[in-house]
């Protein structure tokens, strides 16, 4: 249902810091029709060419101001990911994605009070670095 919000087109790219490629990032809207506190994000998973990224290598920002690890998000009950704001998910990976084609999958699940199971979706994109 909300797959069209997940994984913005052309948003996957390597991140360079101090002339060193430190990882890659993707951008996404919340997979729901309203804003949620970060603690209600149940799952964020990134899989590149069939290999899932380790949760501890993932950093998340809902607003380009504050960055959270997945552990930190679990208690961020007052910090919101606003509907309509592109969040950035950064994956630490020295050297980033190698040149060429990759298949990148982003899966997001949100908990919401009136649906008994976390819901969201997964979007896979073929990208070229």
């Amino acid at each position: 249902m909300f797959e069209r919000y997940i994984f913005r087109k052309d948003s996957c790219k390597n991140v360079v810091k101090a002339s060193e490629t430190v990882g890659f990032e993707v951008k996404t809207y919340v997979s729901y029709y309203r804003s949620v506190p970060l603690s209600m994000i149940h799952k964020i998973e990134i899989t590149v060419d069939g290999v899932k990224s380790k949760p501890e290598d993932i950093l998340f920002t809902p607003d380009q101001k504050e960055w959270f690890t997945f552990e930190e998000m679990k208690t961020a009950a007052l910090y919101k990911w606003e509907y309509g704001e592109e969040a950035t998910i950064f994956v630490k990976q020295p050297g980033g994605l190698s040149k060429g084609e990759h298949q990148v999958k982003l899966e997001i699940a949100i908990r919401t009070p009136y649906v008994p199971v976390p819901f969201g979706g997964a979007v896979t994109r073929d990208i070229v670095i």
């Binding site: 029709y33 949620v36 679990k74 908990r111 919401t112 009070p113 008994p116």
Partner: protein, 342 residues
């Protein structure tokens, strides 16, 4: 005494997220069609229920500038705020109180409590509803309507306490006379077996609805009571999309309008659900003439708020026009209210 029109900005979420319409554009549009406002603070008001001063100032400016009255705010008590535990009752009560105070600050007289809101938080929050002049109205929605445990528990409290500050918001999706076509098409695009769609359509043709035949709370074809889908249906399943379609099909109901009889004095507001309204103003699944005839006969007064949901069945890159759908439905409702021929 008469029925009045409002628009839920839920209808315009695609316009909002793709920045085709700002909140101000929506106020302007509503003023043009003389409709009032239903809002979801969690959707279009930043940092809700604790908006910053500048956000409140901007809200006040819009309210001052446009002839649009805030009617109902749709709120959520996030009982599963944390992954490792459900909110304790006291915490959930506090969350509801914050929402009541915000609704009052913004000028709303009704808050819509989402289905499944814990019944035990209602009475402790009621003095705040009274003090801040905000009605607590539980949503009656397909799959979670009058026979649902939480909805029943809320109604028991509502009947017993009999306060003007407790009531219901009824979503007209419980009066679907066929399965919404836009939803079927969406799932067909995602690999739904057409035979499964036919099976569900057949349920409507027999005068029933999927919930009655399949049971609610079905995830992967099974609910918590161990109930499963009928074999003649599961025999048609080719992929998980088929089970998913059947699960979602229970979110629409085919109830007779008279189901409202005992509840109507407590109904504060309607969500006028639309999935696909044609140029003549006719909704594809819900007969608004039937609904308005019933409400007029009963002399019901309050707002019917257009709530467009066809947007969620768009695929990536597909353009949906919530605003066009809103215009068509509002103009049809206007005719129904004025008693002109439709």
């Amino acid at each position: 005494m008469s029925i009045k029109r409002s628009v839920s900005l839920y209808s315009l979420q695609e316009e909002y997220i793709h920045k085709k319409m700002s909140l101000e554009d929506m106020f302007k549009g509503l003023e043009n069609i003389e409709a009032d406002l239903e809002f979801i603070t969690d959707q279009m008001m930043k940092n809700s229920p604790f908006p910053r001063m500048e956000t409140l100032n901007e809200w006040d400016r819009l309210i001052r500038t446009y002839k649009v009255k805030p009617i109902c705010n749709d709120i959520f008590v996030n009982t599963n705020l944390y992954a490792n535990r459900k909110l304790k009752t006291h915490e959930a009560i506090d969350m509801l109180i914050h929402e009541i105070k915000l609704a009052h600050r913004l000028g709303f007289g009704i808050v819509r409590l989402v289905s499944m809101t814990p019944p035990e938080i209602i009475e402790p929050a009621l003095p705040y509803a009274e003090a801040y002049d905000v009605i607590l109205a539980m949503e009656v929605h397909g799959a979670m309507s009058f026979d649902d445990y939480e909805t029943k528990a809320f109604c028991d409290i509502m009947f017993r306490v009999n306060s003007p500050y407790l009531g219901l918001v009824v979503d007209t999706g419980i009066f679907c006379r066929n399965h919404p076509k836009v939803a079927t098409n969406y799932f067909l695009n995602h690999g739904l077996n057409p035979e499964v769609a036919k099976f569900i359509d057949g349920i409507y043709k027999s005068g029933k609805d999927p919930k009655q035949v399949l049971g609610t709370g079905m995830f992967l074809g099974k609910n918590q009571h161990g109930q499963t889908y009928p074999k003649e249906l599961t025999d048609l399943f080719k992929s998980e999309v088929d089970a998913l379609y059947c699960m979602f099909s229970c979110a629409y109901e085919n109830s007779p309008i008279e189901i409202l009889d005992p509840y109507l004095p407590y109904v504060k507001h309607f969500h006028g659900k639309i999935y696909d309204v044609n140029e003549a103003g006719i909704e594809s699944s819900i007969d608004y003439k039937e609904i308005f005839d019933y409400l007029n006969k009963k002399n019901w007064s309050g707002y019917v708020s257009t709530e467009y949901e066809g947007n969620r069945f768009a695929v990536e890159g597909e353009e949906v026009s919530g605003w066009q759908q809103v215009l068509r439905h509002q103009s049809y409702m206007k005719k129904l209210i004025e008693g002109s021929k439709v």
